[in-house]
C-alpha cells in the first residue's frame, strides 16, 4: 500500500511540475523579491544592503501613506457594502423565483457585463458623469441643472467601482442560496413565523458563507483597482495601486515602493481575515 501511494505521489508531482515551476518562478520568486527589497536600503534607482526597517518607518512617519491606505480601504469597504446589498435580492430572486431550467440563462445575463471590455466600461463612465456628458445633457434636455458628478472624485470612484464589480457579488450568494434546504423554510413558516422572520433567522444566516465569499471577491480587486482612480478622477485621488506606481516607476524607489506594496498586501489580508473571523460561526455550519 505504501508503495502504491508513493508512486501515486510521484505521478502527481510529475504531472503538476510544469504549472508548479511556472508559478514558483514567476509568482513566488517575484513576491519574495518584493518582500526582500522592502527591507533593503534604497534610493533613486539604487538598492543595496544593509537590511533596514527604514522603509517601513517612513510609512508611519509621512501621513500621506496612511491617508492613501485608509482612503483606499474605506472606498473599497463602501463599494463592497453597496455591491452586496444590491446583489443579494438578485441572487435571491434567481434562486427562489426562477424555474430551474431558466436559472443558468439569468446567471449568464448577469455575468456577461463582467467579461466584456472593462476598460471601455470604466472609460465610458467618465463620458457619462463628466461635465456636459450624458447625465448632464439628459438633465439639461428636461430643464434641470447639470450635476457634474465627475467633479466629486470620490463619489464617482465609488459609483464606477460599484458598477464594475457588481456581477462578482451575485454568484457566490446564489450558490449558497441554492444549498439552503427548502424544507427548513417551510418548517419555519408552518411554525407561524412571518416570511421576513424566516428570512432573517434561517435564510440569511445559512447564506452567510456566500456573502463572505462575495465580500472577499469584491473587496480585493476593488481595493487594488488602478484604472478607475486614474481615469475617473483625473488621477487626483490616487488609491493604493496608483501610489505603488508612483513610488516604483516615477520615483524609481524600489525599496520604498516594495515596503508600501507589502504593507498594503498585509492590510488587505488582515481585513479579509477579520471578515472571515467575524463570521466564523456561520462558516462550516453548512457544507
Amino acid at each position: 500500500m505504501a508503495a502504491t501511494s508513493k508512486s501515486e505521489a510521484m505521478s502527481g508531482l510529475k504531472l503538476i511540475s510544469p504549472t508548479a515551476i511556472y508559478v514558483i518562478l514567476l509568482l513566488a520568486v517575484p513576491l519574495a523579491t518584493v518582500i526582500l527589497y522592502s527591507v533593503l536600503t534604497g534610493g533613486r534607482g539604487t538598492i543595496s544592503l544593509p537590511f533596514t526597517f527604514e522603509n517601513y518607518a517612513q510609512l508611519l512617519e509621512k501621513p500621506v501613506y496612511g491617508y492613501i491606505m485608509l482612503k483606499s480601504l474605506l472606498i473599497a469597504l463602501v463599494v463592497t457594502f453597496i455591491t452586496i446589498v444590491l446583489a443579494y435580492p438578485v441572487a435571491y430572486f434567481v434562486s427562489f423565483h426562477v424555474r430551474p431550467e431558466r436559472k443558468s440563462l439569468w446567471l449568464f445575463l448577469i455575468t456577461i457585463p463582467f467579461w466584456t471590455s472593462y476598460i471601455i466600461r470604466v472609460s465610458l463612465w467618465f463620458v457619462i458623469l463628466g461635465y456636459g456628458g450624458v447625465v448632464d445633457s439628459a438633465l439639461a434636455s428636461i430643464g434641470l441643472e447639470p450635476l457634474n458628478i465627475a467633479s466629486y472624485s470620490i463619489l464617482s470612484i465609488i459609483i464606477v467601482l460599484a458598477h464594475a464589480y457588481a456581477p462578482f457579488a451575485v454568484l457566490p450568494i446564489f450558490v449558497s442560496l441554492e444549498k439552503v434546504d427548502r424544507s427548513l423554510l417551510e418548517a419555519g413558516q408552518d411554525l407561524g413565523e412571518s416570511r421576513w422572520a424566516t428570512f432573517t433567522r434561517v435564510t440569511l444566516p445559512l447564506t452567510m458563507p456566500g456573502v463572505i465569499a462575495s465580500v472577499l471577491i469584491v473587496f480585493i480587486p476593488t481595493v487594488g483597482d488602478y484604472v478607475t482612480p486614474k481615469l475617473v478622477a483625473d488621477g487626483k485621488e490616487p488609491m493604493i495601486a496608483n501610489f505603488i506606481e508612483t513610488q516604483l516607476l516615477k520615483l524609481n524607489n524600489y525599496a520604498q515602493g516594495s515596503a508600501f506594496a507589502v504593507t498594503s498586501m498585509v492590510m488587505v489580508a488582515v481585513v479579509c481575515l477579520i471578515f472571515i473571523l467575524l463570521n466564523r460561526r456561520f462558516i462550516g455550519g453548512q457544507k
Binding site: K103, T111, S117, I120, P167, L171, G224
Partner: protein, 269 residues
C-alpha cells in the same frame, strides 16, 4: 414557483444598471455628433469607418490577438496539468502548490504586475509582448484550472481503468479516453482565457514597454474627446465579439457537463 413581482422588477432594474454603459455604446457609436451627449443627432456609420481606417488601432488589435491566443494556449495547457494532477492524484505539498497557482485570484493584479516588473527590470530583461504574455498567463491560469477541474471531476474513473485493462498505455488512454471527454472543458477554458487576456489592462500597460496593445490604446484614446466616438464604435464591435465568444464557451461548458452525465450547477467559476 411563487410569484414575486417586486423582486422581479428589482432584478430587471439591476440588469439595466449592469448593462447601462454597454447599452450606450451602440447608441452613441451610430450618433452623428462629435460630442457624446443628448439629444441624439441622427444616424451615421462614419465612426466605424474612422475606426477601420486607424492604422495604430489595427496594429494594437493584431498584437492583442497574438497575445490572447498565446495566453489562452499556454494557460490552458498549464491548467490541464494542474487540474488533472489535483483531481487524480494525492501528493505531498498539493495544498500549497494549488494555493500558489490560484493565488492571483485573491491578489490585487497591480501587486503581481509590480512584483514581476521589479524582477524583470532587475534582471535586465527587455520588456516586450513576450513579457506581457508571461504575466497574463499568471492571471488566467487560475480560471483555466477552475474550469478544467470541474471537467476532470465529472470524468468516470472506470472508463480509464477499462481502457488500461484492455491493454492501453497510460498515455494512449489519456489521448483516446480522457482527452475527448474533457475537450469541451478545454475549449471553454481556452475561450475564457482568451477573453480575459484580450480585455486585460494592468499587465499590458506595465509589462508591455509602450507597445500598442488594444486595452492600453483604448485607455489612451479616451483622453482625446475627438477620438471618443470611434472608440465607442470599437467598443460596440468588441462587446459583440466577446458576447459571441462567451456564448460559445458556455455552450461547450454545458455540453461537457451533459456529456459526462452531470447536472447543471450554474455559471462559470
Amino acid at each position: 414557483m411563487k410569484k414575486a413581482p417586486f423582486l422581479k422588477s428589482y432584478t430587471i432594474f439591476y440588469l439595466l444598471f449592469l448593462y447601462f454603459p454597454i447599452i450606450l455604446l451602440p447608441i452613441f457609436a451610430f450618433n452623428d455628433s462629435k460630442v457624446v451627449a443628448f439629444p441624439l443627432q441622427g444616424l451615421t456609420t462614419a465612426w466605424f469607418g474612422e475606426m477601420a481606417a486607424d492604422q495604430n488601432l489595427r496594429n494594437a488589435a493584431k498584437n492583442s490577438l497574438f497575445i490572447a491566443l498565446s495566453v489562452a494556449t499556454l494557460s490552458t495547457i498549464l491548467g490541464v496539468f494542474a487540474a488533472r494532477a489535483s483531481v487524480r492524484y494525492r501528493f505531498p505539498g498539493k495544498a500549497p502548490i494549488m494555493g500558489l497557482i490560484m493565488l492571483p485570484l485573491v491578489l490585487p493584479e497591480m501587486i503581481i504586475a509590480m512584483a514581476l516588473l521589479v524582477v524583470l527590470l532587475s534582471l535586465g530583461v527587455q520588456l516586450s509582448l513576450f513579457t506581457v504574455i508571461i504575466g497574463q498567463v499568471l492571471i488566467t491560469t487560475p480560471f483555466a484550472v477552475a474550469i478544467l477541474t470541474s471537467a476532470f471531476q465529472s470524468l468516470d474513473r472506470s472508463l480509464e481503468e477499462a481502457a488500461m485493462d484492455l491493454g492501453e498505455t497510460p498515455l494512449s488512454t489519456f489521448r483516446l479516453i480522457v482527452l475527448p471527454l474533457v475537450m469541451p472543458g478545454i475549449m471553454a477554458s481556452f475561450l475564457i482565457c482568451f477573453t480575459i487576456s484580450f480585455d486585460e489592462f494592468i499587465i499590458s500597460n506595465f509589462l508591455g514597454a509602450g507597445q500598442p496593445i488594444l486595452s492600453v490604446y483604448i485607455f489612451g484614446q479616451f483622453r482625446f474627446p475627438a477620438k471618443v466616438p470611434s472608440m465607442l464604435a470599437l467598443g460596440t464591435v468588441l462587446v459583440l465579439f466577446s458576447i459571441i465568444l462567451l456564448g460559445v464557451a458556455e455552450y461547450f461548458r454545458r455540453r461537457g457537463i451533459a456529456k459526462a452525465g452531470g447536472k447543471e450547477s450554474g455559471g462559470f467559476l
